[in-house]
């Protein structure tokens, strides 16, 4: 996959959308982040978040899914995350929130095969829930032909 050779700094992609169910939130929390505000409605309402909300790490992991699917649709194969230089959680993500992200190409180094993206994840009210900068490693260009990219807009199925 060498479509990324065509990427330009400043270019932006809209990812697909992803709806987070209460079950998704509880399952992730039970396995990775069993704190009351991610597990129990009552405790969550009394917390700083004001209601049962997803672990920040789940939101971050979902972001990687949205980005991965979007680049795949563009014919770009991610080989891994090198760094997240900075990331901020802005507002909680609640059950049934619909997330999508804007991925802006901040730098594209073809020699080192590194792609720096500025990413904003927002909910259905267009409020930004997560912002970050992320450096991705991209597969070396290959000469093998690729299938045509699919639509950039899609809904992700967990």
């Amino acid at each position: 996959m060498d479509e990324w050779q065509n990427l330009e700094v400043g270019q932006e992609f809209e990812t697909g959308t992803l709806t987070l169910s209460k079950r998704d939130i509880l399952e992730f929390a039970a396995e990775f982040d069993p704190q009351p505000y991610h597990l129990e409605a009552e405790a969550a309402e009394a917390s700083i978040f004001g209601g049962l909300c997803a672990s920040g790490w789940q939101v971050c992991a979902l972001m990687t899914r949205l980005v991965s699917d979007t680049f795949k649709d563009q014919g770009i194969a991610i080989q891994g995350i090198q760094t997240i230089p900075n990331m901020q959680w802005k507002i909680p993500v609640f059950a049934e929130d619909i997330l999508c992200a804007t991925v802006a190409i901040a730098d594209c180094n073809r020699d080192s095969q590194l792609l720096v993206c500025d990413i904003r994840v927002r909910n259905q009210h267009q409020k930004i829930a997560l912002t970050l900068s992320m450096t991705l490693r991209i597969a070396a260009p290959q000469s093998a032909p690729q299938s045509a990219p699919q639509s950039a807009v899609r809904s992700t199925d967990l």
Binding site: E31, F32, P36, S47, I48, W57, Q58, T64, T83, N86
Partner: protein
């Protein structure tokens, strides 16, 4: 829980800069690496041992955010065991921001990662006059003592209750 009377949660003021702990270890299994990969990072080197063999990793590796999720799991365990007697979910740990998160080496099935943290700074900033912000440096090392993962995180810690000012007399 009766014991909770004797476990006082730590306030912001109680947490010393320089505190260092080796707070937990986790052995990654092939099954959990694939499960996490399928949900969150569906590149073949996270989801298929066979296809992963043809990737640059030459085998299955854990998704980057899987490391962060396991860090969180072990940190919650640790907070409950040692640092606080968290009862109400209000006092500890909501994350604000992350800096310099880096992955240095792949984590493969069977690898055991041990995590450390060090409190490196207490920020001056206050949130809603109720929370302070604690910055910690966190690292993960594999079974060969090679660093595989590191980052800094700012989390909220509740301020100790103060005697009401004289205006309320």
């Amino acid at each position: 829980m009766k014991n909770s009377e004797f476990i006082r949660s730590r306030w912001f003021e109680d947490i010393p800069v320089g505190e260092f702990h080796v707070f937990g270890s986790h052995s990654f299994t092939e099954k959990e690496i694939i499960e996490f990969g399928k949900k969150y990072s569906p590149e073949t080197f996270h989801t298929s041992p066979e296809a992963a063999f043809d990737s640059e990793y030459r085998g299955l590796v854990a998704a980057e955010l899987h490391l962060a999720a396991i860090w969180m799991k072990l940190m919650v365990d640790y907070m409950e065991r040692f640092a606080t007697g968290v009862q109400d979910g209000r006092r500890n740990g909501a994350g604000v921001s992350v800096r310099d998160m880096q992955w240095f080496k792949p984590v493969r099935p069977g690898h055991t990662i041990t995590f450390t943290y060090e409190i490196c700074e207490k920020l001056d900033r206050r949130v809603r006059d109720k929370w302070g912000i604690i910055r910690s440096r966190n690292e993960g090392f594999n079974q060969n003592n090679e660093r595989v993962f590191s980052f800094e995180i700012d989390i909220l810690a509740e301020l100790a209750p103060t005697v009401k000012p004289t205006a309320e007399r």
